[in-house]
């Protein structure tokens, strides 16, 4: 224990804090994602609210010890509602020099840095680009540095299980987890159970991991921890009762698609081509075969979209999914769906661009593409996912709109939401309103483009239905009959009715509410998608300080809610915060002539609460 000063700190002295942000960072091989999810689960069981964000390296498996091989997992947990995974870190745990150099800047001034000093070898230091060992010079002066030779301590702790040194070191993540459990006064039972079941086939591995976990915990509890390191108490948050799980955006969208298809009484044909970060949907749905879900990995994106459309044509619900560049490739097929008025759902998991861009980084820059990105006047409803769990309801809503209005619908989610997770009060599927699809089977007076008076939707007919044979296609169709028509007036009429149908959906969606604050006032901060959390917290914080600011967060991007124009005009200023260069802003300015300004950020990372607070203050204090 030469590296840490010996101070005895009885448990009763835990400092009460409202929330904390902890990040585990190490090599891809160090098991940081597992460590993070165990901590998450335990925090959840302890009654905290929380939000997490994993950060994977772009490379599949980078050489050990390199900066580009660093994998991290961040959790923000607290006794209050948690809206983001946290601006700055209270605690950073690093398993090697590369993790330190790439993560240090996110630690708050005076924050705690816990480093596995055993991994700060010359070789690893060189790989990370350090000329000297930062644990040994004064470069970390602004932080509370705790250096512990976790490597050695882990090897010692698991000695009895007869593992090789390399195998033994695999448990050092659990050692670190044990230490952090101790810091926050957390129980180890859930992780012990989980290790036992995960390694049921290799009990000695399970035992070694448990031993490491206990050793880390014991190290904190019984050994001499430095004065700089505290022990903390994070009380339970005020959370509605019920059964919870954690859920990522990819999970919520997948489950929502399944739930929505059940509410519509349809089978799903999910047709996709792999792409990061969208692939996760394909992976989740591929495991839902017992629900009759068909998944099809097509040869490319337009084939996926075309197959989904073919599936819809044949009477099931065609869904396709991709990320930015892949969505661009689907557009011609989406245009056909718009022209033939078939239902379809397109999920776009946005990532940073243009072109290949930054596949593993998040962005909200496909709003233009979603609303405007096709040839010709081709209106399509667009809705967006605001939090990791929100995808469930959004996916259901997409299916409701697609089938009720016979239209493709685009769902915008993003790389952040896809991978981030939050606790979710598991809903009871039987409490949702059904919206069963009625296929037309009555040949009497049937015309394929005859429209419902209210929705303006055309009928959906399954091939195989007797006496209803008909042809549809991408050339302009005659109003009602659907035959090819080159008639000028007909094209005008059809263009108008396509627009009217989509615009009419505004009457079938809720009026826009104010998320935080009041209608009218000095400033509205408008957002959509994954910026919900940070905007919400920032606005709430500043209202607490007495500033006149409100949050308006959109789910419906197109058509926009019918009261939105009036609502926006009730504020002196409108600030649109987006992770793009101002795409929703363009839409709002053009639709409502409201002098909206933008707060824009495109560095692949979510907004920090502090950034938003600063921007809001700047606007209200001028």
């Amino acid at each position: 224990m030469s590296e840490v000063a010996a101070i005895d700190r009885p448990d009763e002295n835990r400092q009460e804090i409202e929330s904390a942000v902890v990040r585990f960072a190490g090599d891809s091989g160090d098991g940081m994602q597992l460590t993070g999810s165990q901590f998450t689960m335990t925090a959840a069981i302890s009654g905290n609210d929380l939000a997490t964000f994993p950060d994977f390296p772009a490379e599949i498996r980078a050489p050990a010890g390199t900066t580009f091989g660093v994998s991290a997992f961040q959790i923000n947990f607290g006794a209050r509602k948690i809206m983001t995974s946290g601006d700055q870190l209270d605690v950073l745990v690093v398993m090697n020099p590369a993790a330190l150099i790439t993560n240090l800047e996110d630690v708050k001034p005076g924050g705690i840095v816990i480093a596995d000093s055993g991994a700060f070898t010359d070789r690893n230091l060189a790989k990370a680009g350090y000329e000297e060992n930062p644990l040994d010079n004064d470069s970390l002066e602004g932080y509370r540095l705790v250096k512990i030779d976790m490597s050695r301590l882990t090897v010692e702790a698991v000695k009895e299980f007869g593992l090789s040194n390399k195998e033994a070191l695999r448990s050092k993540n659990m050692w670190a987890l044990g230490l952090i459990y101790w810091m926050y006064g957390r129980k180890r039972e859930a992780s012990v159970d989980w290790l036992k079941s995960k390694f049921a086939k290799n009990p000695e591995i399970a035992d070694a991991n448990i031993a490491a976990l206990n050793a880390g915990h014991a190290f904190g509890e019984t050994a001499e921890m430095p004065a700089e390191l505290g022990t903390f108490e994070v009380e339970t948050a005020d959370i509605s009762p019920g059964v919870y799980r954690t859920i990522t955006g990819a999970e919520s969208v997948s489950l929502g698609l399944l739930a929505g298809s059940q509410l519509a009484g349809l089978n799903i044909s999910f047709c996709s081509y792999p792409i990061t970060p969208a692939s996760a949907l394909l992976h989740h749905l591929a495991r839902m075969k017992d629900f009759g879900v068909i998944t099809f990995q097509a040869e490319d994106e337009i084939a996926a979209a075309a197959a989904a459309l073919g599936a819809s044509y044949a009477g099931s619900l065609g869904i396709t999914s991709s990320s930015g560049p892949g969505i661009a490739l689907k557009m011609e097929a989406i245009g056909l769906a718009i022209g033939t008025e078939l239902p379809m759902v397109i999920v776009n998991s946005q990532r940073a661009g243009p072109s290949t861009g930054l596949p593993t980084k998040t962005e909200q820059s496909d709003l233009y593409q979603a609303v405007f990105g096709r040839n010709a006047d081709a209106p399509m409803p667009v809705i967006s996912v605001s939090t990791p769990s929100d995808g469930y309801d959004v996916a259901i809503e997409a299916i409701r709109i697609a089938t009720k209005y016979m239209t493709p619908v685009m769902v915008l989610t993003d790389g952040y939401i896809t991978n981030a997770s939050e606790p979710w009060l598991i809903p009871d599927p039987s409490t949702y309103d059904r919206f069963d699809v009625t296929f037309r089977t009555d040949p009497e007076n049937f015309q394929p483009f005859m429209r419902d008076d209210t929705t303006l939707a055309r009928p959906w007919v399954k091939p195989g239905t007797p006496e209803m044979m008909h042809r549809i296609g991408g050339i302009e169709r005659s109003y009602d009959t659907g035959h090819i028509s080159y008639d000028p007036a007909n094209h005008q009429k059809m263009t108008d009715v396509r627009a009217a149908k989509v615009n009419g959906i505004a009457n079938d969606i809720p009026e826009q509410e104010v998320a935080v604050g009041a209608a009218g006032g000095k400033l509205a901060v408008v957002g959509w998608g994954s910026t919900y959390g940070p905007i919400n917290r920032a606005v709430a914080n500043l209202r607490d300080e007495g500033l006149d600011v409100s949050q308006i967060h959109l789910r419906y991007i197109w058509p926009l809610p019918r009261n939105l124009g009036e609502l926006l005009h009730s504020y002196d200023q409108v600030l649109v915060a987006e992770m793009n260069t101002g795409q929703l802003r363009t839409l709002l300015r053009s639709e409502y002539l409201v002098p909206a300004e933008g707060l824009n950020k495109v560095n692949g990372k979510p907004f920090l609460i502090a950034e938003l607070e600063d921007a809001i203050r700047a606007r209200l204090e001028n």
């Binding site: 959840a44 009654g47 989980w194 509605s240 009762p241 059964v243 919870y244 799980r245 954690t246 489950l255 739930a259 059940q262 089978n267 044909s269 839902m288 075969k289 017992d290 629900f291 009759g292 879900v293 099809f296 097509a298 040869e299 337009i302 084939a303 075309a306 197959a307 989904a308 459309l309 073919g310 599936a311 819809s312 044509y313 044949a314 009477g315 099931s316 065609g318 011609e332 097929a333 056909l336 598991i426 809903p427 599927p429 039987s430 040949p443 009497e444 015309q447 394929p448 091939p463 195989g464 007797p466 006496e467 044979m469 008909h470 042809r471 549809i472 296609g473 991408g474 035959h483 090819i484």
Partner: protein
């Protein structure tokens, strides 16, 4: 819309819509349309379970003329759309129609992957070696030297052979016929319909406006007998007006050769026998081209293999064998906790 209930026995006419057929007068597509309608009548195919899917092109207008379900999609994507149709409803009898541009140029990839997956559809490629609808540009099947608006000095790219392509990507059924051979074509279409999996049928079709007579070297009456060989499984590979010519395998050069019975001591015993399950033979047959060799027509290759959509649904049935999934259970899968 045609809403009368079908009579006991359907005739070719019952498969025709009331829409005016809008190909150029004299276009080979008319004859193919007729052959398809005749074939469906012979098969007594149920119009309500029959779907024609097409891309864009002259050929691709086909669905409008068939009193069945029809989907005229976008250029090149019909095999992908059809794959979705079959995945969603394997009971439908799906025909995919397109031109050489549609299926081998922009749609080459989808054609390839539908074929390799063995999706159970009939893919009818109307090969006129030209882009008809866009007014006559050369296509990937045009022979070198084709003068067209985009190649005023003649095309220079090697054409692709549709049948060799289909064989190379693992097709399980590859056949050929021509627009003007109603009976032969109808026979091939019936075989294609009977085959489970992707039945790839290349139909040499005359575009009277932009590429007239391009297949004359083997379709003209006077040369038909010498320049066509109609292959049939288990039958010797004979051709010629008097069936006095045949194909033999030159073993040393591993090539098919055209010979005349009686010459150089060749007897019928020397003539190779068509085996439609032999991919190598089919490949050699597909390579033959006049004037040195006759064009091989008929079913070049046919192999039984599981269809894609059947395998997909078999997996789903397997996954459901212990009962349909329960959404509420799925939502609770993994670690959960209760807040009181």
């Amino acid at each position: 819309m045609n809403v009368q209930s079908p009579p006991e026995k359907l005739t070719a006419r019952d498969y025709a819509t009331d829409q005016e057929v809008r190909w150029c007068p004299g276009c080979g597509d008319y004859a193919i349309l007729k052959a398809v309608q005749n074939t469906l009548a012979e098969l007594q195919a149920d119009p309500k379970n029959t779907v024609f899917v097409s891309g864009i092109g002259c050929a691709a207008r086909f669905p409008y003329y068939m009193e069945t379900y029809g989907f005229h999609t976008i250029h090149g994507r019909s095999p992908a759309v059809a794959t979705g149709v079959k995945l969603s409803n394997p009971d439908l009898d799906v025909w995919v129609v397109g031109g050489d541009g549609d299926m081998l140029s922009i749609g080459g990839n989808h054609t390839m992957h539908a074929i390799r997956r063995n999706v159970d559809v009939q893919l009818l490629l109307f090969n006129n070696q030209i882009y008809g609808l866009t007014k006559g540009q050369y296509s990937p099947t045009s022979k070198i030297g084709t003068k067209s608006p985009s190649t005023p000095l003649g095309s220079i790219d090697n054409p692709v052979s549709a049948a060799q392509f289909a064989l190379g990507v693992g097709g399980t059924f590859i056949a050929r016929s021509t627009d003007i051979m109603q009976k032969h074509l109808s026979g091939v279409l019936k075989r294609a319909h009977g085959h489970r999996g992707t039945s790839f049928v290349e139909i040499f079709q005359n575009c009277i406006v932009y590429n007239d007579g391009v297949f004359k070297r083997f379709t003209e009456k006077s040369v038909q007998a010498e320049m066509q060989i109609h292959v049939e499984h288990g039958q010797p590979l004979l051709f010629g007006k008097d069936k006095d010519k045949g194909l033999i395998l030159n073993k040393d050069e591993m090539r098919l050769e055209a010979v005349t019975l009686g010459e150089n001591g060749i007897t019928e015993a020397d003539i190779a026998v068509h085996d439609e399950t032999n991919r190598s033979l089919a490949t050699m047959l597909a390579q033959m081209d006049p004037p040195t060799m006759p064009v091989a027509l008929g079913v070049l290759y046919c192999e039984a293999a599981p269809t894609y959509e059947a395998s997909v649904h078999a997996q789903i049935d397997h996954a459901r064998k212990d009962g349909e999934g329960d959404l509420a259970k799925l939502l609770h899968r993994g670690q959960t906790w209760t807040v009181e």
